[in-house]
């Protein structure tokens, strides 16, 4: 995690955010959330920039960024699969879904496929317990999953993305 090797991010993209929040006490999390919306993740140079703008030490900003699961320090794939690990999902077999996706995509929880298509992330309860097991992909919720159903959904998404790429 050496800052020097990272590619440079366009810091101007968050200047509005910093103008609005940098001097408001207690806004660090909000700034990080908005910065992540902009970049898709939190690049190291962005963390430095935020630290400087808010008058915090980089260590503190990194400390906050690594405390909360929402923040990512690595880029994610085109599709972010958020697989719910809530109790209801557990009771209804979410581990089997995780295993099936993991095997199918060849990635472990937290990893991204080599082609950059999918990132697999098991998350805390999504609150859709009645539809368990549940996963959310880019904001869309898919419920009452079975291993087969989950893999079909991923297959469809991949086909969709490939079609888009061709077009």
């Amino acid at each position: 995690m050496c800052g020097c090797k990272e590619k440079k991010s366009d810091l101007s993209l968050i200047s509005d955010i910093l103008d609005e929040y940098a001097k408001v006490p207690g806004s660090l999390i909000t700034i990080l959330q908005k910065a992540q919306e902009v970049y898709g993740y939190l690049p190291v140079d962005v963390i430095y920039h935020i630290a400087e703008a808010t008058g915090n030490s980089p260590a503190k900003v990194l400390g906050v960024a690594t405390f909360y699961t929402q923040f990512r320090l690595q880029p994610v794939g085109k599709y972010l699969i958020m697989l719910c690990q809530g109790t209801a999902c557990h009771v209804n077999g979410s581990e089997r879904i995780l295993a099936a996706i993991s095997e199918n995509l060849g990635i472990k929880n937290g990893e991204t496929t080599e082609d950059g298509m999918f990132t697999l992330s098991s998350v805390a309860c999504l609150g859709c317990c009645s539809l368990s097991p549940v996963m959310m992909i880019n904001g869309e919720t898919y419920g009452t999953l079975t291993p087969d159903k989950a893999l079909t959904i991923l297959k469809e998404l991949r086909e969709k993305a490939e079609k888009e790429a061709q077009a």
Binding site: V44, S57, P58, K60, G63
Partner: protein, 679 residues
């Protein structure tokens, strides 16, 4: 400021209003363990070891961060508090990876602090080295020469190339001191008026005497022989340990300290044991194991058959028996080596060592075997005496040897020798020396309880015998004869127990709890190979003709180089480590019951002047908090959450490091050895 009064463990304690329970306890001389609290920073309450119980709260309170309430009664020693504290320590230790003490020191029966004295040798401070050595061993020049050095067996340097030559470095430093103008001479504490009688002036008795005298007690050693030293004097040949030149000098130092020494005095002969006991506040039996075991075959009592240690003693006393030209020594231990090499020096032409297993199984030191071979000793492996046959004069003439082979491993793990049926050899001999073991002769110690094997039974923690005020140490006890440093270890440990007993509160010996690493988990690839120093010796052809010392001692340059090979496995912070100090106050901790994932062990030097060890870090976060709250820099931060949280000097970025003032406050306040100030 308002004063308040609280009760802690029944003691009335006063302190300023607003102070924490911990601080008021401290002000009143009560220590509550605490690792994460520090006056430089705000209350935090992370480590959980400082919990106390209050009579007015159902919950356990963190004394470090709970304001004491006037008139409240607190307890630090209820079962509930003790359990919670113990589990907290066990949990911390289960994720604390490090070696408090070096493995050499842990392996040494006397717990000699090898790493510390070797460091001093490396720095050229031989006197300081001797001082450290003498904290555990008053006879280092002698022991350094003769010790089979268990320490070296656990030396981690062997995973790089070869173990350090620890014993010979001790011999080197102690010699330097012994022959210097201003020998290291510790002073005894002021007189306590307590009188201790020690029976036996061998390594165990001398050591006990030394440490008890240091505490200010009046100590007298009684020994049946004309000189002190016991087996060191009478069981080890002169060519290995010069008696007047080295051993006696070290004994003299003990005498100079004020230990009284009485020779040619035997309990049971010159005084009854009961009368003897009456004269002292405590008695220590350290009579050793002086009887040779017999061979156990037909002809074992014939004239010309000698016991190994009897033989060695007689040679040293100047009354060597006439052993003739052809001599067989039975046995494979160090006494057998001493006996065979002594026989060579007495002029025997054919000296045989009869050993029923092979060389690989021989308990004797390799170097001893090698040197014996250089001196012409012939080894008859896989043979066992079947009969000693007398000649016409009734004396030893021949030995019939049963040829053996190795069978299945026995309980000691060594392959058991079994006779090859009908296969024998005959040796023509003038004498036979039996060096297969020694026994305790407890004659005179009336009323002292013996174990099944006829050895004095002593408690392993208190060193007490069945008799009031009578302690026993060394070869004479429990498992019987062993190596000298074992006797020294017992003498030293027993001295502490006896001292505490004489002061009215006996504290039995307990190996303090320490954190240990498994060498399998350690990466040795970073070290470059550098060969072990060889001890210069006199040529075999020359030395076999006399009893002068074989070893010549290390050249100072070689000693320093050898000392520099030390990997310094033990923690730099052991003496100042709050974590281990408190952990050792607990009843024996068993962190292994919570064994599980640990933080990885590695060191990093990302801060200007500090080395950080992740394995040792206990996540008290004091360094982070001090850097942030006290220093105002925030160079250090927490990364991640929960168990996986680590402390990072952020990114190792130059810009950030400019912040770091090298104030070293983080390292100075680390409650364990996770942060080290680099020199």
């Amino acid at each position: 400021m308002n004063q308040i009064t609280i009760t802690i463990d029944g003691k009335k304690c006063t302190g300023p209003a607003g102070a924490t329970i911990l601080n008021i306890a401290k002000l009143n001389g009560i220590e509550i363990p605490s690792l994460c609290a520090n006056g430089l920073v705000k209350n935090y309450g992370a480590c959980g070891v400082c919990v106390v119980e209050s009579e007015s709260s159902p919950k356990l309170l963190r004394s470090c961060s709970t304001e004491a309430a006037d008139g409240t009664v607190y307890h630090t020693d209820t079962e509930r508090v003790k359990k919670a504290r113990r589990v907290a320590f066990e949990l911390i230790m289960s994720d604390h990876e490090g070696d408090c003490l070096p493995p050499c020191m842990l392996k040494c029966p006397a717990n000699s602090n090898c790493q510390a004295y070797i460091k001093q040798i490396a720095l050229g401070n031989n006197k300081e080295a001797t001082k450290i050595i003498k904290e555990t061993n008053p006879l280092p020049a002698s022991i350094g020469r003769v010790c089979p050095h268990p320490c070296e067996k656990d030396c981690r340097r062997q995973h790089v190339d070869e173990s350090l030559s620890i014993a010979f470095l001790k011999y080197f430093a102690a010699d330097k001191d012994l022959f210097s103008e201003d020998r290291y001479k510790p002073e005894a504490a002021s007189d306590t008026g307590k009188r201790i009688g020690i029976i036996g002036g061998g390594p165990a008795g001398l050591t006990a005497a030394y440490f008890l005298r240091l505490q200010g007690h009046e100590v007298t050693i009684f020994d049946m022989m004309p000189h002190m030293g016991g087996m060191l004097r009478y069981g080890i040949p002169e060519y290995r340990l010069p008696k007047e030149g080295i051993l006696q000098k070290e004994i003299d130092t003990i005498e100079e300290l004020g230990v009284k020494m009485v020779n040619n005095y035997k309990i049971g002969r010159d005084i009854s044991f009961d009368d003897f006991r009456k004269k002292f506040d405590a008695v220590v039996i350290a009579i050793g194991a002086w009887t040779s075991s017999s061979i156990g075959c037909k002809g074992e009592d014939l004239p010309g058959v000698y016991g190994g240690i009897d033989f060695l003693r007689r040679v040293i006393e100047g009354s060597a028996p006439a052993i003739g030209k052809n001599v067989a020594i039975v046995g494979g231990g160090n006494t057998a080596m001493d006996a065979c090499r002594t026989a060579v020096r007495l002029g025997a032409e054919n000296v045989y060592v009869i050993y029923r297993r092979t060389e690989a199984e021989m308990p004797a030191e390799k170097v001893e075997i090698e040197e014996a071979r250089e001196e012409g000793v012939q080894f008859k492996f896989l043979t066992n005496p079947a009969e000693i046959i007398a000649g016409a004069d009734g004396k030893v003439k021949q030995m019939k040897l049963q040829v053996m082979e190795l069978g299945e491993p026995d309980e000691s793990g060594r392959r058991k020798p079994v006779p090859v049926e009908g296969k024998f050899e005959i040796l023509e001999l003038d004498s036979v020396i039996s060096a297969i073991g020694q026994h305790v002769d407890p004659a005179g110690m009336n009323g002292v309880e013996l174990n099944k094997r006829g050895i004095i039974a002593a408690d392993e923690a208190s060193f007490r015998t069945n008799l009031e005020n009578v302690f026993a140490v060394g070869d004479a006890t429990n498992r019987g004869a062993s190596i000298a440093v074992e006797a020294i270890g017992e003498g030293q440990k027993a001295a502490k127990v006896i001292d505490s007993f004489l002061r009215g509160k006996e504290v039995p010996y307990r190996m303090p709890f320490v954190s240990k690493r498994d060498p399998k988990d350690i990466d040795f690839s970073q070290w470059e190979s550098y060969p072990r120093a060889k001890m210069p010796t006199r040529a075999a052809a020359v030395r076999k003709g006399d009893f002068l010392e074989v070893n010549k001692g290390f050249d100072p340059d070689d000693a320093v180089k050898e000392a520099f090979r030390c990997l310094e496995c033990g923690c730099h912070d052991y003496k100042n480590c709050e974590l281990i100090r408190f952990a050792q106050q607990e009843p024996v901790l068993q962190p292994e019951r919570f064994a599980g994932e640990k933080h990885p062990y590695f060191t990093e030097q990302k801060l200007v002047c500090i080395e950080r060890n992740q394995g040792k870090c206990i996540s008290c976060n004091l360094c982070v908090r001090i850097c942030d709250e006290d220093v105002g820099k925030g160079v250090l931060g927490l990364v991640g959450r929960g168990f996986t949280t680590v402390i990072k000097p952020e990114f190792n970025n130059k810009k950030v490091l400019e912040f770091c003032k090298s104030c070293k406050k983080c390292a100075e306040n680390c409650p364990t050895g996770a942060l080290k100030v680099l020199d």
